[in-house]
């Protein structure tokens, strides 16, 4: 479906384009795992995301920093296919994601600060429910494995409302990774976690950097975010005002740099 009908474009077929540019359509193309082109999100008169472009290959880990109200959650929502962009498109492995199709959603895992958990169901029931939705075969095994990984194996029978915030966050993480997604989105995963839970999260996230997955994380935690990242971006006022490979960043001076960038654009 067309993201927006535009009358000033003439339709040119893909084969015509390839013929014109001399691209060999039979050669395997290496398209980025996650791509965003001109993403814009407007809520009436308010523009939350004002044109964001993004290109990540498999194995990359992008951390997005930014002040509140910069539109980070809206951006993540569009990348994860939860929100329809006002303009622009998102592609996974070269194919534009369509909100009306759903098969591609099995490749995506989302950890939202809202939890996505049912308070009155137990940890195990929550995971089982999502396991069924994702059509997983070995649900019981996966549940046991993931609960173990996030340190909640002994709380499997506890209702979510009986779990502390940190435990819920960990359960949400288990939920996000249960179906072994290729692309993972994390929205403020470190918020409200005590040091030991944060350490556990760090461990799980490190495991995600196995080269098969692509991760995008939004966080306020400069240290952790920087440590994990292969690429860093700072979002202010709905767009990326600063972007760099993590290897080129001076960790020690980053905090100062972050504040300078944010101040300059406010």
């Amino acid at each position: 479906m067309w993201p927006g009908t535009r009358r000033d474009c003439t339709y040119v077929s893909p084969s015509a384009i390839y013929a014109a540019t001399g691209v060999d359509t039979n050669a395997p193309t290496e398209s980025p795992t996650l791509e965003a082109i001109g993403l814009v999100r407007e809520y009436g008169p308010v523009t939350a995301v004002d044109g964001v472009d993004l290109s990540l290959d498999t194995g990359e880990f992008l951390t997005i920093f930014g002040p509140n109200g910069a539109g980070k959650t809206s951006l993540l929502g569009m990348l994860a296919g939860a929100t329809r962009p006002t303009r622009g498109e998102v592609k996974i492995s070269g194919l534009p994601i369509s909100l009306s199709e759903h098969d591609w959603r099995s490749k995506v895992g989302i950890l939202s600060h809202r939890g996505f958990l049912y308070a009155r169901l137990t940890a195990e029931e929550n995971l089982r429910f999502y396991g069924e939705l994702f059509g997983l075969d070995d649900i019981s095994d996966r549940i046991a494995e993931h609960l173990e990984r996030v340190g909640l194996a002994d709380r499997a029978r506890f209702e979510v409302r009986q779990l502390s915030h940190g435990m819920r966050q960990r359960l949400s993480l288990a939920r996000a990774l249960l179906h072994d997604p290729d692309v993972v989105f994390l929205d403020e995963p470190y918020t409200g976690l005590d040091p030991s839970a944060a350490g556990l999260l760090r461990g799980v996230l490190n495991e995600l950097k196995d080269g098969r997955r692509t991760v995008v994380m939004v966080t306020h935690n400069l240290t952790e975010g920087l440590q994990m990242a292969t690429r860093v971006a700072i979002q202010v006022g709905g767009r990326f005002v600063w972007e760099q490979d993590a290897s080129d960043i001076d960790f020690a001076g980053f905090e100062r740099q972050y504040h300078a960038v944010v101040e300059a654009r406010s």
Binding site: M1, P3, G4, G44, T47
Partner: protein, 230 residues
């Protein structure tokens, strides 16, 4: 289609409609014969029925545009839907005002659940629901989608409501009054009614196009306000 073009079309339709309206009034007051049982008041019929017809045309247009809007997400379709809905609301209100008036004078009661009037009342509520839902969301795009759903479901339900109301009425038949809209409508009454239908449709289209042009200007103004002058 440019806004100026739309406005020209709108002006054309409206002027034609207004001219037709004058003609209609002349026909209904001076030319057509008086209905034998109800007397002069029956002439409201030539306004009442065309207005009802137009309001149903309106929900049809609104539902159709809404359906295609949900599919293609072209703003113009949503604009068309809201303009049709507004026109529909106006004409439905006319029906609901003229109906009881006619009823009271002709046979003594303001309201007697006459099928056409009842159906229009429910249609009126559908239009009201359309606008309530459209304006009750924080995100205007959501409001447009919700309103589209209301229009579509409303339009689908109208035939069901129509059948149910007629069946319900058939259980309690009206006192025997000559029905001016029965199958044997005398020639001159039929002609006046047809003129009425045509005129009201023209007026509706004129109103619709004016409103559409206005919405076009409004959205353009929004767009300009969003982009700072460079």
């Amino acid at each position: 289609m440019s806004t100026a073009g739309v406005r020209r079309g709108a002006t054309g339709f409206t002027l034609l409609g207004l001219a037709g309206l004058i003609g209609l009034f002349w026909m209904s007051f001076f030319w057509v014969s008086t209905e034998v049982n109800q007397g002069i008041v029956q002439r409201i019929f030539y306004v009442h029925v065309p207005a009802a017809w137009t309001s149903f045309l309106a929900i049809g247009i609104a539902a159709l545009c809404s359906g295609v809007y949900l599919w293609l997400r072209d703003e113009k379709l949503d604009r068309a839907a809201v303009c049709a809905a507004e026109g529909g609301l106006v004409f439905a209100t006319i029906v609901l005002l003229t109906g009881p008036l006619w009823g009271k004078i002709a046979w003594g009661t303001y309201w007697n659940w006459e099928p056409r009037l009842t159906l229009t009342l429910l249609l009126w509520f559908v239009f009201v629901g359309y606008f309530m839902v459209r304006n009750a969301t924080e995100d205007p795009e959501k409001g447009k989608r919700f309103a589209a759903v209301v229009a579509i479901v409303g339009a689908i339900d109208i035939p069901f409501i129509h059948l149910s109301v007629i069946w319900f009425r058939s259980l309690h038949p009206e006192p025997v009054v000559a029905k001016p809209d029965g199958p044997t409508l005398p020639g001159d009454m039929l002609a006046t009614l047809m003129v009425g239908l045509g005129v009201f449709t023209l007026l509706f289209l004129g109103l619709f196009l004016f409103r559409y042009a206005l919405e076009g200007l409004r959205s353009e103004a929004d767009l300009r306000a969003r982009r700072p002058a460079s």
